[in-house]
Amino acid sequence: MRTSDVFSYSFSAIKLRKLRAALTTLGVVIGIAAIVALLSITQGLQTTITDQLERGLSADTLIVVPGSSALGGGEGGGFAGGGFGGSSSNAPLHINYTDEINNLSPDIITSFAVVQKAGYVQNGSGVIRIVTTITGVNFSQYANAYSTTFVAATGSIPLNPSNDEIVVGARLSDPRFNGTLFVRANDEVNITWTNNTVIPFVNKTYTAHVAAVLDRIGGFGIGGPSDTGIYVPLTRAEEFFGTDEADVIIVKLRSSDAATINSTSIIITDYFGDQVSVISATAVQSLLTTIFSTISLFLGGIAAISLLVAGIGIMNIMIVSLIERTREIGILKAIGMKSRTVLYIFLTESVIIGLIGAVIGILSGWVLANGVALFLGRGGVIGSALTITPVLTVEVILGALGFGIGISVIFALYPAWRASKLKPVEALRYE
């Protein structure tokens, strides 16, 4: 029997039981849609996060934070929390360590210290206050290191700032991104920091002059500029916070290749006797990739279970179909059909169901993913500047097709085999 004839015969058998076939197909649709939706959202999230990290984290910079926690070196190790707030400090990272770091390796162009504390700002009206991260940096070094992100949208960034000049992130100026400005360039704001290392806590406030508002960045800004931060001169920060400890030291490298990043990371870590951790963009990215592939596998695995259920559904209707069509199989065999062809006919039926289910499943999974992304993008859950654009890769499409059809075939194997093994004499006698 020709393949096209097998196909049309199978199709006629499916058409005869439309509702049943549709419900079975629905099972496959749900399974595939779940897989596609989850994977494309995860992939989209990964793309978004990686993209944002890349903006906040130059490839040729290393970030040195105090603490020997699992905060991975250049080998792409762990990325534990706590580092930036300086909560896990064994030995403090002094601001003047930058001089020592600069001399550690010829691969290092320069390094500079960043002091970061949580605080809040109040504008002239004094009614609203916004929680922010107060970052003390050398403006000229910072602008040099983050030449694409530490850029003024309005006003200008003073390279030799006076003590009370500050620069604010785009989101601080326009918190809701709707044009209702909280502060603008040349405004005066009050900056408050609560010193909680003394009992009772002491609130310290000073009035600063907004010299510039940054362009919108959209990234997380690890070490680098952030949309929600305010930037004060390093010397002012030292004085205001009463500290000579850096929360982060940013090291600018001559090259962004992996070997340089690794070797320099190790040199710095060794120099400080493992009392610091060095984070690099590549390490964070490789870690993110690992995390996301684990998440994908996990979510995909859960979705795959629903496909397994669909497979059992297929097996179920194929067995029912086989029993109903026992006599038909007897007729087919009596007029010369081979067992093998009977097997093909049954497998083809499940392939058709699997194929239709997979195609509809991929489409509806994609629609579902976009719906969820739209919901999240509106601030439904994540709320921040994070918008997810689901990504549907060719691999996911082909994988979903293959998986849908594969499951259908695997679960149809047994009923198809049983159908093919029916004895014509007995099958013809079947009522």
Binding site: Y9, S12, E328, I335, G336, M337, K338
Partner: protein, 231 residues
């Protein structure tokens, strides 16, 4: 002249078939000798339990004998595997008591099905199916499904299907058993006409009057042939 070189259509020598009914062996055929030559119209007559259905299954290559020799179109059945038996069945045209058409197919699709199993292409099939349905007098019922046809018409479709692959012989199992007597006569006339055109026919029945319409009647009783007479 051609027939001189041809093997008999069916040749059975001391054919035996034993079934296991649970743990009890049942000897359905106890040594049948039979020869069907090309162009013959043979009826096999016998009461239920006489072994005629068993003989039908063997001659139809649906089953294999326990002992003895059975050749169909010169092929020794006992040496064949399932696939080869299926191929052999392509050379046999089956006509069943209950028509056994595929209900979802039209008359033409049912006739075409037999040819599609053989691997004949669509256009050749359609043409041949059309011709065959005209031959059996169903020119205006070609696109009707079995449920839209009378019993006699369904059996004509079944005969057209049986003829589709130019079989060596037609094997009929009570072909008029499920049709009213008037229509049965018409179907029988059709069968005789087909035989007149040179198609070999083996017909199994328990109806004596029908059996006598054949050229030759074999009477079975208790697993053996009791008589073999030319009518």
């Amino acid at each position: 002249m051609e027939e001189m070189f041809m093997a008999p259509v069916v040749e059975a020598i001391d054919l035996k078939k034993t079934y296991m009914l649970g743990k009890i062996p049942v000897e359905a055929l106890r040594g049948v000798n039979l020869k069907v030559e090309s162009g013959d119209f043979l009826s096999i007559l016998g009461p239920s339990g006489s072994g005629k259905s068993t003989l039908l299954n063997l001659v139809g290559a649906l089953d294999k004998p326990t002992a003895g020799k059975l050749s169909i179109d010169g092929v020794d059945v006992s040496t064949l595997n399932d696939n080869q038996l299926a191929d052999l069945r392509l050379r046999i045209g089956f006509v069943f008591q209950f028509f056994n058409l595929i209900p979802r197919f039209t008359a033409r699709d049912n006739v075409e099905l037999a040819m599609s199993i053989k691997g004949i292409n669509k256009s050749a099939r359609t043409k041949r199916a059309q011709e065959l349905l005209e031959t059996v007098g169903l020119k205006d019922r070609i696109n009707h499904k079995p449920a839209e046809l009378s019993g006699g018409q369904q059996q004509r479709v079944a005969i057209a299907r049986a003829l589709a692959n130019d079989p060596r012989f037609l094997l009929m199992d009570e072909p008029t058993g499920n049709i009213d007597s008037k229509t049965a006569r018409e179907v029988l006339n059709l069968i005789q006409r087909i035989n007149g055109e040179g198609v070999t026919i083996v017909m199994v029945t328990h109806d004596q009057r029908l059996a006598l319409e054949a050229k030759r009647t074999v009477q079975m009783f208790d697993g053996v042939i009791a008589s073999d007479l030319v009518n």
